[in-house]
Symmetry: C2
Subunit: 168 residues, 2 copies
């Protein structure tokens, strides 16, 4: 299956940015379900910088495999800036990478509410520079919301790779 060109192009640029700077990467994915990791590993040579991913689709897995605190999930919900932050720092610690990204959102068509509608997504990157969080409100269908979140995740990783380089 060919990944679409926009995702593949971003993954190629991320690989170039990371391999040249000896930066390693991992992902923690909920609503994207592994698409960010799939896009990254669709590029030959990705094993030179990509370590792995934890797809935490269920909240119990977010706790056990990513170390998201139960009280964060209870207080803010799985789709929140706080959970995105904990997922990114959790996968970074567990894999020992330089740059980690997380995605948690509501892809739809079910699962939305007035406070957290379908299309809402929080993403975070974690690096030695700290954590950055983004909030998005996509307005596409399930496949489109997943794809837009994956694109945003790759763009955040690219920005984090550039920021890491500036720090050198």
């Amino acid at each position: 299956m060919a990944i679409d060109e926009e995702l593949a192009d971003l993954a190629r640029r991320l690989q170039d940015a990371c391999v040249g700077r000896h930066l390693t990467v991992a992902t923690a994915e909920s609503c994207t379900g592994g698409l960010v990791a799939h896009a990254i590993t669709s590029i030959a040579g990705s094993s030179d910088y990509f370590r792995g991913a934890i797809v935490a689709y269920e909240n119990g897995i977010k706790e056990s495999l990513l170390g998201v605190p139960a009280d964060v999930l209870a207080a803010h919900g799985a789709v929140s800036a706080q959970t995105a932050r904990a997922m990114a720092t959790g996968v970074r610690e567990r894999t020992g990478v330089d740059l980690a990204v997380s995605v948690t959102g509501i892809a739809g068509p079910g699962g939305g509410s007035d406070a957290k509608p379908v299309g809402l997504a929080y993403l975070a990157t974690a690096s030695a520079r700290g954590v950055e969080v983004q909030r998005h409100a996509w307005a596409d269908d399930r496949a489109g919301n997943i794809r837009l979140s994956a694109i945003a995740a790759l763009e955040m990783l690219l920005a984090a790779a550039d920021a890491a380089a500036e720090n050198e």
Copy 2:
């Protein structure tokens, strides 16, 4: 991004087979890089049975996150029946699911050898019935080898779901 129809159709059938039988599923992926999890979660309602995935692209991650013994990796290599077996049982234990599948292989174009050529893939399912291992030798390009491994993984999960039902 629309997943291709064959993967989506298999994922739909797996969801029907598992949700009706209250079976939960997780994946442990190396060469497929998250594509099996992405195919599963492309279907609305997949959160009713899919718990999560560990994408262990690097050998260190296979040890730390999946519990693959270092001596198994040293003796048999990352692409082996023994590693596939340890990945499947490892992710099943760590996520507490009924059915787990693992994939480890050489997608190419690099990484092949005479003993382990590009396209070689081992898959395993783990359930209460035990472990099943399959060996495949694909002859496609990188994207094709990844896709064929993902299709085989979904087919193994479907067979494991049917076998679990017969056991009831």
